[in-house]
């Protein structure tokens, strides 16, 4: 009987060893991939950083107002952020590629899905970035125009413009990423519509006189206020 136990044990140990021998190379491969991946990701990060420095990416994001947001969120600068993002994505990618070798069922699918997801995530981030840029630019333009044209509540106008654009951009980003698509669409529609309605009512009732004056000034010539005041030419 003792001999039976020993031989079973030996067999079991042998199986285990075989198992290890089967999986150990694979793990080694994964580790190698991880190391290689690290190097590649690091190189990518360095190259990207140089490129971004060259195109003055920081300045661009400052203009977009993104830098201010990042600082507020205690995040590093836009260039840094992007470089790190790229580093991590690259390294992770390599690791996952290595993991595939392990041959764990089910994991393949998830990894594939992850890789498919990455581009969309990137596009969504791009949309948000440029959307922010646009929002800042247009809201500032509206602000300046309103101030110089002596419109009442220029800040309200500016903020409205900014909000509308941000909402729009966010919706597009979420749609791109595929998160709660329908919900976002409907919510955006409702919010946007409500805002417009609100503005219309507000301007309609409250801004009646203003609209009248504006239209008069623009389209009714020849009724210059005589004797009221002389205009100065700046040049």
């Amino acid at each position: 009987m003792w001999k039976m136990i020993v031989s079973e044990l030996t067999q079991a140990m042998g199986d285990l060893a075989r198992g290890f021998a089967h999986i150990l190379p694979r793990i080694i491969v994964v580790v190698i991939m991880a190391l290689v991946g690290w190097v590649v990701a690091y190189l990518a990060k360095v190259i990207l950083r140089s490129i971004l420095r060259l195109i003055k990416f920081d300045r661009l994001s400052e203009n977009a107002g993104a830098s201010q947001l990042l600082t507020k969120a205690a995040l590093p600068s836009a260039t840094d952020l992007l470089c790190r993002f790229v580093f991590w994505v690259a390294w992770l990618g390599f690791i996952l590629l290595g993991v595939r070798v392990l041959g764990i069922v089910g994991l393949q699918e998830q990894i594939a899905k992850f890789f498919l997801f990455l581009p969309r995530l990137f596009v969504a981030l791009l949309i948000m970035f440029f959307g922010l840029l646009l929002a800042t630019f247009l809201s500032r333009a509206a602000l300046l125009a309103a101030v110089n044209a002596n419109f009442p509540s220029p800040r309200l106008l500016s903020v409205s413009v900014r909000t509308i654009i941000i909402i729009f951009v966010l919706s597009m980003a979420f749609e791109e990423v595929g998160v709660a698509e329908q919900t976002m669409l409907v919510a955006f529609g409702v919010a946007f519509g409500a805002m417009m309605l609100g503005l219309a009512i507000a301007f309609g009732t409250g801004g009646k006189e203003l609209a009248q004056q504006f239209l008069e000034k623009r389209f009714v010539h020849g009724r210059k206020d005589e004797g009221k005041e002389d205009e100065l030419s700046p040049l």
Partner: protein, 422 residues
């Protein structure tokens, strides 16, 4: 070359038949039929009186007029095939017209005139604004003689104008150009000026005509190019400049053309202006500037209001542009009562210089920087109006002179903030 294709075949044919000229009069137009007839007659009289022996041509660069402006200019020609009702002329006077675009652009009009001047090898050229209804034949002599006698390359005008006319000019363009470039040029962005053929050719070749900002504000660019190129510049007194009432909303486009062009020229011309200190008067024929003092009713209040509103609403924008101390000071004075409000010369100069530096660094969109300056300018205009409301012509001149000296005094400040990070 693609750049010269903006001259149509027809116009080129007309230029061929005009041939070499000694004097070229450029008239850029766009729907000016009301005023152009008498202006062109005055030009004709000026040429026949002061340059009867010279070969002269009038070149009209039109931006798509639909009211018969071009025909009015062409009818000023005097030749042998014309009717006898023309004034007597020793030689043929040509007058040709071309439509450079279907919408007006002062830069393209100037470019057309420069191209014509180069192809016709004109010795002396003069650009006349189609709205100068107070032009007299003497203006042509005053502008052209210094060029034609080959003493100068650029002749800028000086006028007799109301003391409150042209505040942007007297409070920003003139003092800043003077402080930076060291030349007391009263009208750096003139609508009528004369130049030599060689200056015109150089400007035509060097200027970045495809650049949108370069196309607008080409008048001040021209002056700055002449300064940068070391050309000989002088001024000539012309006479009264009509007080043209313009809608105050026109301030921003005007600032874009003039202040924007001035700011954008600072970077390429850095080597020209950074070392200059002080300023020198330039040769002037006639008065340097004259002021008329007839009473003018101006809505000063609105200027101050717009200033205050601007300071309040544009705080976020100003934070990107101005230094904290300047912004704080502006906010302080914005809160003052009208009676005690004063936008001092020093503060104004600092404001302008900080804006110039911000423009150079493109902290935000450059066009927005110019727009943001507008309400601040209104505040300065208010102070200028108040300080000089009862002032004599000499007082006004002293005030402007003081402002110029302030610009000169603070020039090192501009240099300091030019490249540094605040």
């Amino acid at each position: 070359m693609a750049e010269t294709s903006f001259l149509t075949d027809d116009f080129l044919g007309q230029l061929i038949s005009v041939g070499e000229v000694d004097i070229l009069v450029g008239v850029p137009t766009h729907n000016n039929a009301k005023t152009i007839g008498s202006i062109v007659e005055t030009i004709q009289a000026g040429i026949l009186t002061f340059f009867p022996r010279e070969r002269a041509a009038i070149i009209n660069a039109d931006g798509g007029s639909r009211d018969g402006t071009r025909q009015l200019v062409i009818s000023a020609a005097i030749g042998d095939a014309q009717s006898r009702s023309k004034p007597y002329a020793l030689r043929t006077l040509r007058s040709i017209s071309t439509e450079y675009a279907s919408s007006p652009s002062s830069g393209t009009a100037l470019r057309t005139i420069l191209a014509a001047a180069e192809l016709l090898r004109a010795k002396a050229c003069v650009v006349i604004s189609p709205e100068s209804t107070q032009i007299t034949p003497d203006w042509l002599a005053a502008l052209l003689r210094p060029i034609y006698a080959e003493t100068f390359d650029l002749v800028l005008p000086t006028y007799r104008r109301h003391k409150f006319d042209g505040i942007l000019l007297t409070n920003l363009l003139y003092p800043m150009t003077r402080a930076l470039y060291g030349m007391e040029i009263r009208e750096p962005s003139a609508l009528e000026f004369a130049f030599s053929g060689r200056l015109g050719s150089q400007f035509l070749a060097q200027n970045a005509w495809h650049d949108e900002t370069a196309r607008a504000g080409s008048e001040i660019q021209f002056t700055l190019a002449a300064i940068a190129g070391g050309y000989r510049i002088c001024q000539s007194f012309l006479g009264a400049k009509e007080h043209v009432g313009t809608h105050s909303a026109d301030l921003v486009p005007v600032m874009r053309q003039t202040v924007g062009a001035l700011f954008s020229s600072l970077e390429p011309n850095f080597s020209v202006w950074n070392a200059k200190t002080g300023s020198q008067p330039i040769p002037t024929t006639g008065a340097k500037q004259e002021f008329s003092l007839e009473p003018l009713r101006v809505n000063r209040k609105r200027l101050r209001e717009m200033f205050s509103i601007g300071v309040a609403e544009l705080e976020s924008v100003f934070q990107s542009i101005l230094s904290p101390s300047t912004l704080a000071e502006l906010q302080r004075i914005a809160a003052l009562e009208e009676a005690s409000f004063s936008y001092s010369a020093e503060l104004w100069v600092k404001t302008v210089y900080e804006f110039a530096a911000a423009y150079h660094k493109s902290v935000i969109s450059r066009d927005h920087i110019i727009q943001a300056l507008a309400p601040l300018f209104r505040g300065r205009a208010f102070t200028f109006l108040v300080e000089n409301r009862n002032g004599s012509a000499a007082n006004v001149e002293d005030d402007i002179e003081a402002l110029c000296l302030e610009f000169e005094r603070l020039k090192p400040y501009l240099l300091k903030i030019w490249n540094g990070r605040e």
